[in-house]
């Protein structure tokens, strides 16, 4: 597949993307294999070894109750990546379905669904995620639901626009002329043609999910202490950050930074390649 090879090269072919891929791969590896390659427990308290600077014993140092920051970082990577991915995917499926139904059926269904989406985007995203999390009683699951809910309008609007574009194409009209049922038109003709752009949307939304999860964790709405989620780890390290023990908050912060910057950069490049006119760009 030479065309695929070219596209691959344009997405991953330059130095900056290569760095992004490598850093991302390292974090994914730590998230998946963390407990195997680094066997220290992320929750074990060791007051004799508290606030130790990074060393061979503790590559990322220890926190104020002597827990190993590297082990917590790995566990945090696992929690952040998994929650972020799940939220982006579920949001994508729900938002995509709403966009598909709304765009294909049109009429009352369409305007009803789109007004609901308008009500959701009437909030600044983080504020709505906060509101939902508060309403559902705080925690990782509530935070994930908040993130999913704020992602839905983003997907549904883009997918709907795409459905409207595909729907007016000749082959769909040909299908109508041949007497295809509405169900068949949607499933066999429209859906496959809008599916292509969704991976890029999910990738771009994944960064948002990770960032928002960390933000909710930071203000105390997301994962609860002592769960080693990156945002809550930054909160825990905050008070020691300026008094010399910078490592507790620094590493989880870098983790968020790397994952979000790298995925949004790769998603951006992929969009440039697959959608040169930027029709489906966010915003």
């Amino acid at each position: 597949m030479p065309a695929f090879g070219r596209a691959w090269n344009r997405v991953f072919g330059n130095a900056a993307s290569a760095v992004a891929v490598i850093l991302l791969a390292i974090i994914v590896l730590l998230a998946v294999l963390g407990p195997v390659i680094w066997t220290k427990d992320p929750l074990t308290v060791d007051l004799a070894a508290k606030l130790e600077a990074p060393s061979l014993q503790h590559p990322m140092g220890t926190d104020n109750v002597g827990r190993d920051v590297f082990a917590r970082f790995n566990e945090g990577a696992r929690i952040s990546l998994l929650t972020g991915l799940l939220a982006a995917l579920i949001g994508g499926v729900l938002g995509g379905l709403i966009g598909l139904v709304s765009g294909s059926l049109g009429g009352f269904t369409d305007s009803g669904l789109m007004r609901c989406m308008d009500a959701l985007v009437a909030f600044p995203p983080l504020v709505l995620a906060m509101a939902v999390t508060v309403g559902l009683g705080v925690g990782l699951k509530a935070a994930a639901i908040g993130i999913i809910l704020t992602s839905i309008p983003y997907y549904s609007r883009i997918v709907r626009a795409d459905v409207l574009r595909v729907r007016s194409l000749n082959f769909v009209e040909a299908g109508v002329a041949l007497g295809a049922t509405r169900r068949r038109l949607i499933l066999r003709h429209i859906l496959p043609n809008v599916l292509g752009t969704t991976p890029v949307l999910v990738a771009a939304n994944f960064g948002y999910a990770i960032l928002t999860l960390a933000a909710l964790g930071f203000v105390g709405l997301g994962a609860q202490i002592p769960t080693p989620e990156w945002g809550t780890m930054i909160t825990e390290g905050q008070q020691f950050f300026l008094t010399g023990s910078w490592w507790i908050a620094l590493f989880p912060g870098l983790g968020v930074l790397i994952v979000v910057a790298a995925t949004s950069m790769l998603a951006d490049r992929a969009r440039d390649v697959f959608d040169p006119r930027g029709e489906f760009a966010r915003g």
Partner: protein, 342 residues
């Protein structure tokens, strides 16, 4: 034009209505008896019941909703039991700090974005462009509170050039007499250059922190717009008439590229609002955002709910204003032609 405006106005009102329903439902969904939370664990059932009725919780839902909305728009935002003061008083005291911070952040983000977008597109140097894009991805990817912490560590703890997290002024400095509530303005009015400088130095790092994400968003938008505009024929014409590169950029490319950034106003406001919750605590900034963050921890939801609804209303109003403004400025929208048809 008028129709465009009224269409948008209808949409905005619907959005505010939706937002008020969401905020109302959220408060009802909270577990436990809110009356009991307020009077405390040692109150008798009788007192709890009286508090319950005083709060109108025995009324049917639509009555409660109506009371909630009319109270909100009449400016009665409830009582915060964790502070021991009305939410109005709390917000009134803290809003100027947040507004001042947001204004500076907005100015930083906007000037930064214009300068860097010009840098990256003016000479089309790949290295400069790469650097600018790099800063944009850093801005998109870094949680604002983390930027703030890093800045404090580097510039305050290690280099000592900026003050630490001590709020709007050094502890020894007396706030200027209040006129607007914005310290940098009030100190000019009162003629106190030392206070002005102190307030400004304290603003720098928090405002930069808050601006970073908005900058990243703006610079990407502006850069893409500049690239697109610079391919237009009127630029080729102006260059071939002998107009210098700088003048044709300034007079022809930049105004056209800036136009779509106006529509991003709502998104930037959203970033500043949510950013304030995340950033103010790091700098001990006595604004609304910090008060909300504290209220979350102490489960005092009167403040959180007001903040959510206020943010939604501000967001909707700004988006409406931006849309209307855009219609006034851009003849293509004014005449009803679609923006894409060129």
């Amino acid at each position: 034009m008028a129709r465009h405006f009224f269409n948008r106005l209808g949409g905005s009102l619907a959005a505010i209505f939706g937002a008020s329903i969401v905020a109302f439902i959220l408060l009802r969904m909270l577990p436990g008896n809110p009356a009991k939370t307020i009077v405390g664990p040692f109150a008798t059932d009788d007192i709890v019941q009286r508090q319950y009725e005083a709060m109108g919780l025995d009324q049917p839902l639509y009555v409660q909703y109506w009371r909630f909305v009319s109270d909100f728009f009449q400016g009665d935002w409830g009582y915060s039991y964790s502070i021991g003061n009305t939410v109005n008083a709390e917000f009134a005291a803290r809003l100027p700090a947040t507004i001042e911070l947001g204004l500076y952040a907005f100015v930083f983000a906007f000037t930064g974005a214009v300068v860097f977008a010009l840098l990256s597109t003016y000479r089309r140097r790949a290295s400069v462009d790469g650097l600018v894009q790099g800063t944009a991805f850093l801005g998109l990817g870094t949680p604002p509170f983390f930027v703030g912490l890093l800045g404090l560590l580097l510039l305050s703890s290690w280099l000592g050039v900026l003050p630490g997290p001590e709020g709007r002024l050094s502890p020894a400095t007396v706030p200027p007499p209040e006129v607007t509530g914005l310290y940098t303005v009030d100190s000019v009015i009162a003629g106190q250059p030392a206070t002005l400088w102190d307030a400004f130095v304290h603003l720098l790092l928090p405002a930069f922190t808050l601006a970073f994400a908005a900058y990243a968003f703006l610079v990407r938008l502006l850069r893409a717009n500049l690239l697109e505009v610079s391919r237009e024929q009127f630029l080729v014409v102006s260059r071939s008439k002998g107009v210098s590169r700088w003048t044709s950029f300034r007079r022809h490319a930049l105004p056209n590229a800036l136009l779509p950034t106006i529509t991003a106003g709502g998104l930037i406001l959203a970033q500043l609002v949510s950013g304030s919750v995340l950033v103010e605590g790091v700098f001990n900034w006595p604004g609304v955002g910090q008060s909300v963050a504290t209220a979350i921890v102490s489960k005092d939801f009167a403040i959180v709910q007001t903040f959510i609804l206020l943010a939604a209303v501000a967001y909707v109003v700004v988006n409406l204003a931006v849309d209307t403004l855009y219609g006034v400025i851009d003849p293509r929208v004014r005449s009803g032609a679609s923006v894409g048809s060129r």
